[in-house]
């Protein structure tokens, strides 16, 4: 009965609610008063460059780092007083793997499951299921140490599911993986979302956020710079198309002459000019008309990368 009540409450309340949340490390203010609400069943993203405060936020939500200020409830409870009860219902994929590399793949799942008070019999079945999910069944009884980075990451994600969490925290789940491994992980995360798990994901990858997140916030220097669905953010902060012009090193012209009506906005990156415009081909023609001779040109749809560039004035992937 009690459990049912708790679930009912979290059905209507947000799973995570932060207001004016602050994290300080001595003089460093890593998170500077953010407001966030994550609803049941959604995939929520924190997007931002290195040092934006994504991991600091995730660790506060994961109840392993006490907040320095503001309000925070997770699953309707206060991390300061109910940390253990909250953590019992969380799955956590940390930025850095912390598998026991001297145990086997299967042992990692089973030992971890025990910390959640689960029975050995239950965990035997659960481990088999998760091994299948992570496509590690044929490596089940191998030691973790020699596994590839992608396999370890998959195992870490599988391990985070051992307690059938209500809320899954993924801190850069696919950083350092090759494209194939990333797509496999995206597929797995998508399936989890379909099965009703609430996901919170941090990432540097725009395509990842666009693929996985229903809603996201862009974080920069500890603050939230924008919030919305990927499509909303793109329409609010960018244009339909982007024209990219690349020039040989040292020959990139200054942007000022092109500010006038050729495009809504022009950004200069170290190696190219970006023209934000509704019609990329028309802008390209205009650029040729103005005598620009780039070595290569590209007309593409605008992405979150462009949103980010607009919001923070710098490129994410340097």
């Amino acid at each position: 009965m009690v459990a049912a009540t708790v679930r009912d409450v979290t059905d209507v309340c947000p799973l995570v609610k932060a207001a004016g949340l602050v994290k300080r490390f001595g003089p460093v203010e890593a998170v500077r008063g953010i407001d966030v609400e994550v609803r049941r069943g959604e995939a929520f993203g924190f997007l931002g460059p290195n040092g934006a405060g994504k991991s600091s936020t995730m660790r506060m939500i994961g109840c392993v780092s006490p907040r320095s200020g503001g309000e925070l409830t997770v699953l309707g409870m206060d991390p300061d007083t109910d940390g253990a009860r909250i953590r019992a219902r969380l799955g956590v994929v940390p930025q850095e793997d912390n598998l026991d590399t001297e145990l086997t793949v299967r042992q990692n799942l089973q030992v971890y499951g025990r910390y959640f008070g689960l029975s050995r019999a239950h965990l035997r079945a659960k481990a088999a299921e998760l091994l299948e999910f992570a496509q590690l069944t044929d490596r089940a009884d191998d030691e973790v140490d020699p596994l590839s980075g992608g396999m370890k990451r998959r195992l870490t994600i599988a391990r985070s599911l051992v307690n059938d969490p209500d809320l899954l925290l993924l801190d850069e789940p696919t950083t350092g993986l090759d494209p194939q491994a990333r797509h496999l992980l995206w597929d797995r995360l998508f399936r989890l979302k379909q099965s009703g798990v609430t996901l919170i994901i941090t990432t540097h990858y725009m395509d990842e956020a666009e693929q996985l997140c229903d809603r996201l916030v862009v974080m920069n220097e500890g603050r939230i710079a924008a919030e919305g669905s990927p499509a909303e953010l793109i329409s609010r902060y960018s244009t339909r198309e982007v024209l990219e012009l690349r020039f040989p090193p040292g020959e990139q012209p200054p942007v000022e002459p092109f500010m006038d009506g050729m495009a809504e906005r022009v950004e200069a990156l170290p190696d190219r000019l970006l023209f934000y415009t509704a019609d990329g081909e028309a802008t390209l023609a205009a650029a040729h008309g103005k005598g620009l001779r780039p070595v290569s040109t590209l007309v593409r749809r605008s992405t979150l990368e462009d949103v980010f560039l607009h919001l923070t004035g710098r490129s994410l992937v340097e």
Binding site: A88, P94, D100, V111, Y115, F116, S119
Partner: protein, 269 residues
């Protein structure tokens, strides 16, 4: 129809949580114990044979050995010294590694297990390791006729207490180390080794120059050795023994509190 809910995770109670940490460490040990046998059991046995049988053959029973043959005199002392040495190993590199290299502690505290329970579990595991290694050592010592009677079982208890009096503060120290383990070599060289040599394991500290004796009084080994010999030979006096136990208990308690503080500081910043 009864709908069966998948058993979601729960937060285990404090003592259960500590035991689950022990279980995790045991799972590791079951795979990797071979590497630890040499230092934890073989080494003290070799000392007992070389010093007790070999060197001891040159030492006639005297007042200094409580009238016992040297082998018999040495056995309970080595039991304690070995426990302290094992405690030193188990409380340093494995702890640092769990923070720094394997980072397994970070994984554990993301579960319902808290830092206090993690510390309890880690220390409990070390105590179990000390007890088991000590028991194996005693079995070998018995074969060589180095034991006098069932009193050594009590000596084993005191050896574990002594080991933990060293272990708990060292675990706290290891939780504060962030180098590649170089500070441990310093610890072994300048704390452990002098303790081994001067703590009354091989000869009574009354044989030390008077100015060195207060150093021996500070070492847990000396207090533990007094207790272990007293229990083995039935020669202990109530008041001094209480004092030794109290000193060791204070070290354990202080160490546990320090370790809890250092773990919390490092893991939940």
């Amino acid at each position: 129809m009864v709908v069966e809910l998948a058993p979601a995770g729960r937060a285990p109670s404090g003592s259960r949580a500590a035991l689950l940490v022990v279980e995790g460490l045991w799972t590791w040990y079951r795979r990797n114990w071979r590497a630890t046998v040499v230092s934890s059991v073989l080494q003290p046995v070799l000392y007992l044979l070389a010093m007790g049988l070999g060197f001891g053959s040159q030492v006639p029973p005297s007042e200094a050995t409580g009238g016992q043959p040297y082998l018999v005199y040495l056995a309970p002392g080595l039991l304690v010294a070995a426990a302290v040495q094992n405690a030193a190993f188990e409380s340093t590199y494995p702890v640092l590694s769990s923070f720094k290299w394997q980072k397994t502690y970070w994984g554990i505290i993301a579960t319902p297990i808290g830092t206090g329970e993690l510390v309890s579990g880690q220390l409990l595991w070390i105590a179990v390791r000390l007890a088991v290694s000590g028991a194996v050592y005693l079995a070998v010592a018995a074969v060589f006729g180095a034991l006098t009677g069932p009193g050594v079982l009590l000596s084993l208890l005191f050896a574990v207490l002594t080991g933990m009096a060293f272990s708990a503060p060292i675990v706290a120290y290891s939780a504060s180390v962030n180098d590649e383990g170089d500070s441990f070599s310093t610890l072994f060289r300048f704390v452990l080794l002098p303790m081994w040599l001067l703590g009354g394991t091989f000869f009574p500290i009354s044989q030390l120059p008077a100015w060195l004796r207060p150093v021996a009084w500070l070492t847990p080994i000396w207090h533990g050795t007094e207790l272990a010999r007293g229990a083995a030979f039935g020669t202990w006096l109530p008041l001094p023994s209480l004092g030794h136990v109290a000193y060791l208990a204070v070290l354990v308690t202080t160490g546990v509190l320090l370790a809890r503080w250092r773990f919390r500081r490092r893991l939940t910043r």
